[in-house]
Symmetry: C2
Subunit: 307 residues, 2 copies
């Protein structure tokens, strides 16, 4: 295989109680990317449509992630990359992670899969480091593994795939304002109360148990965040209204996607997810906030081959 | 049924990364208790052997837990209780919880099971409140549900049973010193760093996933506590040596049982658990610390009928 076209999924990191450890992949929201073998041992970004992003390899997350892979590979050649960028940078649904993860996943396919998923995550994390100064894995891990993933530890890197209940759908609304990940990290406190910590790990344990058992009620009860959401939600227009209305419309839970400004809700079944979307749309239309909105099944495959 | 004899299991709370939320029940360590219907609407403790504990109903945890049950029951009579107290108070393996849980479980059987397990936990928590001023559930929940339990939330009380892998054994060593739960809570800080919090909920998620999948390696990797163990272990003789030697002897993980001073280790298979026990014994013999030691399969039933 000389060339591959892939779908690079958007991802929701944190997922309320899983700050910095949990993420999930989306199915109907993502970039498309063509990766092609070239004889020269280099990475070339030849085309980017949809967004104004740098073509220079060292300044593009897919270029940097690709170089990390190339460095560990015994392949003599290189790759060129064309990106159809559909996920807006700064939206909070893993725009940079989609490009990083997509690039290294595609390259691995073209080389006959010499690398494990864990290694691909490590390469993709180099792209994340370029994007936000932190080599975090909570978006690239679900993009590569699919479904829900838990980043149990960074040293050593330990990714735990968590099963996804069949009927779990996500609704994501993206108010058209930009929050930089680095800015939204700055407003976080470096300490938390032990009491809130206990609630958080209780909820994380509950969420993992709920996902294993397809216990939608337990998933819903566990989707609480007493630590980050109260601080970061201040930066997001009408967050409380969106959340209240989404819950009233039947969401299991609702919170900030990644570092925001996108807001996600999880629901049982597509019907509920659509009702939640309607309530979110209504809320932003009423106060005049422009937005994108997405409804998606949780994507259990992660990056995938197209065509 | 007018009378029932029950086994009331010892329990390990916290289980490293699950501070204040996780617990598990033991199989071969526990009290025995006889509970008998009486015509008067009262609770009488008629006999306690093994330990010097108050017979007065309002001062005995099983009496207080029993009164909480009786108050919610439409039963006209009462109960008398005989306790063969084998778990030493202050050992950190849920001595008070065994009495509280055993009493209400036995009464519920005698009344034809009018109450749910969740309600029994709530009654038993009144006993815990008497014992340590805090109505915590992390020992009484596994004593009543069996296996591993997660206390996801207290308001409302939400107990999540977590499956137990077949070959999971606990080794518990109890150095013969007493630490009061209230004292060992006092030395904890009321705040923690966000960074350590993230590690903790990553580990808790990993442990729950490991238990669901019988993934012993993942269970082992997740049995870490960066928050409470570094502080409380100072109160426990030779904690670091015991832990290092237990890990060298094949334990999956090792930590403080409840608020101590007992130290627990989890192992895959009885053989490993016995090797861990030998290493722990050796450590305390060398430095002359008197101890009790127990090896037990995780008890998936909780309190159970004897005879």
């Amino acid at each position: 295989m000389e060339e591959i076209k892939v779908f690079c999924p958007a991802t929701i990191a944190n997922v309320s109680c899983g700050f910095d450890v949990l993420g999930l992949a989306l199915d109907s929201v993502g970039d498309e990317m063509v990766v092609r073998k070239i004889p020269e041992k280099e990475i070339r970004i030849t085309k980017i449509i949809g967004q104004d992003l740098p073509l220079e390899t060292g300044k593009n997350v897919s270029g940097v992630a690709g170089l990390a892979l190339l460095e560990k590979s015994d392949y003599d050649g290189g790759f060129e990359i064309e990106i159809d960028k559909r996920i807006k940078p700064g939206s909070g649904i893993g725009s940079s992670a989609a490009s990083s993860a997509g690039a290294v996943w595609a390259m691995n396919e073209l080389l006959g899969k010499p690398f494990s998923k864990l290694e691909l995550v490590q390469f993709a994390m180099e792209g994340e480091k370029l994007a936000s100064d932190v080599a975090h894995a909570d978006n690239v891990a679900p993009a590569i593994y699919g479904g829900f993933t838990l980043v149990r530890s960074y040293a050593p890197l330990d990714i735990v795939p968590i099963p996804t209940p069949d009927e779990l759908f996500a609704t994501v609304i993206h108010p058209q304002i930009e929050i930089k990940t680095s800015d939204s990290r700055k407003i976080l406190k470096t300490t938390i109360s032990l009491e809130k910590g206990i609630k958080q790990w209780g909820n994380l344990g509950g969420l993992v148990a709920g996902l294993f058992q397809s216990d939608y009620d337990l998933i819903g009860r566990s989707l609480e965040d007493h630590i980050v959401e109260p601080i970061r939600s201040i930066l997001i227009p009408a967050f409380d209204d969106i959340k209240t209305n989404a819950m009233d419309a039947g969401a299991l839970g609702c919170g900030i996607s990644g570092s925001g400004p996108s807001i996600f809700a999880l629901s049982k079944g597509e019907n509920n997810a659509q009702n939640v979307a309607k309530s979110m749309e209504e809320t932003y239309k009423t106060i005049g906030v422009p937005f994108d909105i997405h409804i998606s099944k949780v994507n259990i495959h992660g990056v995938k081959k197209l065509g």
